[in-house]
Symmetry: C2
Subunit: 454 residues, 2 copies
């Protein structure tokens, strides 16, 4: 066990009862102060993040607003009466046996370990949704910084630490550690850590999940690991709107160089002249998109390797070869081949897509059914084929956390009705969301007080 | 893989979309019909259960009422608007970018495997709370019968099957399998099983949890594994009420031959003449309790062995030696010894208790803090020491799922504010309850529909 990690987890445990005992108003003020402190970092934060991640300043400006908005959303949530699901069953002394008074409410689970993602250096990293929701719940947080943006992480840690001091929270309320997989292992295995939030690769998330389940006292791991996010184009939508859909799809596929976990990597459509028209427009659109700088060399190298493997695959036709790392790639296959070859259903992280050409709408159902758990699934349809399109919903809700109608999956609203999660392997815990107010549920557990009416 | 289990899980999977698509009213009528069919089994059910478990008929009559009550409670729950937590964020087309319409609601996770307990052949077995809550959620259920009451299990299975037929539910909606650990393993590892409910021993629950976490697609295991349920007697309560408390405690400790998971196996009190008085009365009370027949030979043998080990323990004094399997046993120790010896903090399944004599109220806090996760913790206090007693609440809520004030933990209300669960090792999932309406949450997951306003 890394001695620094041991110290920080012990400090988080010592802080827990004090932090938990703060009023909702005090904790809300603390969350608001974190947002203000992040804003006070000014251009230095944006420039540091841009230098470390290749993400452009306008994107990071938006991400900072989202990040601060999340803290303020959770501050408002815990200021709202009833946020902790208090339920009261009144006593009934006339019953035999007498019914006791019961009060149920939610309490924080304890210190939380957070693993930031590389693709959102703010909103899913040190000051991201996992940190904001855990602190809102009353759980101290120890973040493992993503090695791809250490300076950005330090700046954010300094801002949060200033808020801890300004609001007189115990010093163990928040901590940041750097390191690799070994440090991550130590953190997840520390006996004082009671839950884990993770955004990143399948291999990383699954490894942490395994470690956490094998602990003497197992703890939950909320790993959000991405997916291929299928898009189903019904014939009525393609008829007459092929060019418009191609434009929309190209924009969603290449947004942020395709480095979103909701990136739509699979398109399912009937083999038709409308689809041909869609593909012609799509290739033309994608041709105008310059190769973007990917987040770091590891991701760029992996993209080149994955797209090369797809290009060489016996059951994939290359419709658009990537000119460089970060440039769009397009492959085609048939439904039959898609069903028979699990390897072409895997996520390629970046702006790459597989077009699945179907013989009939029955193929849509079969393709949906064979897919693993997804964060999202999208359907595009015309008004007059709505019933047909919605008949796919039972299957889609079985495989995905969010179903988008006549829209694109990139752009995740931060709001009470959002689900950002889904069946495994989209996440390790299908009962939760990592975005929106319900993200706080991950770090709470119920307690019942019996016979305490006051 | 056992071929019969494979067949039944495939049938449950085939039934899932059909069962899920039934209306709330149809599923509620099905749950009500199960309750009626169990009642129609009449005395045959009670006599069979009594013969298999040694439990007396009045107890089983009460347990049957509880069992049928649970089905009707969940029927009423899913008839209630909003039970599936529907949340709507309306669209805002004036925002930049336009805000989409979002609708979040809960859907069933898929087929559920249920492992019945030996100590409640009805209420926590084939027709128990796990089965009722999973069916209410819309999940088909495959139960592994507890080998200690196979005939009772078959009768209940026949009743549920008649309800499946009467309500025209798909035939894979419910199934029962017999067998041992190997069959249990097969069931938990079947790819079509999506969650597990379990009530029983720590070794069994932990083993199933491990199997479920190592699956290609991990699934949640809700194992409720019991605990020692500490009782803290504050000095004001003992003063003048020692005899009354001894009577109440003796009744709770020996209820059902101590074979409840909420059985209060640890008493914490100040070393005092009031405690001496309490112990005198307690021994006198327990002396009048005849040795009860335990559930089966394995449990009786284990009780004899565990109490013999306690009697031989260097740091335990025997205050009342058990005269036979199922007869009460009482041991004493000091807070210092309790803190230093983890082995005397372990659960003895049956009517055995350890009295922890403390030097000061600080010892109460230390004793509470060293305990592992508990289903319950109880505090008895006088009105004038309420503040002192309630200052223990932060520690108690950290270790237990339910805190009982001036009452005993046995007797678990089936109601919306109940928490029957707690931190590990009381359960493998501290965020849930296995009793009360919230038990349904274990078998639901959120889904968000975006852009579907109708």
């Amino acid at each position: 066990m890394n001695p620094q990690i041991n110290l920080l987890c012990d400090a988080a445990w010592a802080a827990f009862p004090v932090f938990q005992s703060k009023t909702n108003a005090e904790r809300a003020a603390f969350l608001d102060e974190i947002a203000s402190q992040i804003e006070k970092l000014g251009d230095e934060l944006l420039e540091t993040a841009s230098a470390e991640t290749n993400l452009p300043l306008p994107r990071l400006t938006g991400e900072r607003a989202r990040t601060c908005g999340q803290f303020r959303m959770f501050a408002n949530l815990i200021r709202t009466e009833g946020w902790n699901a208090e339920t009261i069953d009144p006593a009934d002394p006339t019953r035999t046996p007498p019914k006791p008074h019961l009060r149920r409410y939610l309490v924080p689970v304890g210190p939380v370990a957070v693993f930031g993602a590389s693709n959102f250096p703010l909103a899913y990293s040190v000051p991201g949704g996992d940190t904001a929701s855990a602190l809102a719940a009353g759980c101290p947080v120890v973040v493992k910084a993503h090695p791809a943006h250490p300076k950005t992480s330090e700046l954010c840690c300094a801002a949060i630490t200033r808020a801890v001091e300004a609001c007189e929270m115990p010093s163990g309320t928040f901590a940041l550690v750097h390191g690799g997989f070994e440090e991550g292992q130590d953190l997840v295995q520390h006996p004082h850590i009671r839950a884990v939030g993770f955004t990143g690769s399948h291999s990383g998330g699954r490894a942490l999940f395994g470690l956490a389940s094998r602990r003497e006292r197992p703890i939950p791991v909320y790993a959000e690991m991405g997916s291929v996010n299928p898009v189903f184009l019904f014939p009525g939508a393609l008829e007459g709107r092929a060019a418009e859909l191609a434009k929309g799809y190209a924009a969603s596929l290449t947004l942020g160089v395709g480095q979103f976990c909701t990136n739509p990597g699979i398109v399912v459509a009937l083999d038709s002249t409308d689809l041909d028209q869609f593909l012609l427009s799509l290739v033309a659109e994608l041709d105008t998109v310059p190769a973007g700088n990917m987040l770091h060399k590891g991701i760029a190298d992996r993209y080149v390797q994955d797209t090369a493997e797809f290009a060489a695959h016996a059951h994939l036709e290359t419709l658009l070869a990537p000119s460089a790392a970060g440039s769009p790639a397009l492959f085609g296959t048939t439904a039959a081949n898609f069903l028979a070859n699990p390897d072409i259903r895997q996520e390629v992280f970046g702006p790459a897509a597989v077009i699945v050409k179907c013989e009939s709408l029955q193929d849509f159902e079969a393709v949906a059914d064979v897919l693993e758990g997804q964060l999202t699934a999208s359907i595009h349809f015309d008004k007059n084929e709505e019933a047909k399109a919605l008949s796919l919903l039972p299957t889609l809700t079985r495989i995905a956390g969010r179903i988008v109608a006549n829209g694109w999956p990139t752009g995740v609203e931060v709001s009470p009705a959002m689900t950002h999660g889904g069946p495994y392997p989209a996440s390790t815990d299908t009962r939760t969301t990592s975005v929106g107010t319900h993200a706080i549920d991950r770090f709470l557990r119920p307690v019942t007080l019996q016979g305490m009416e006051s």
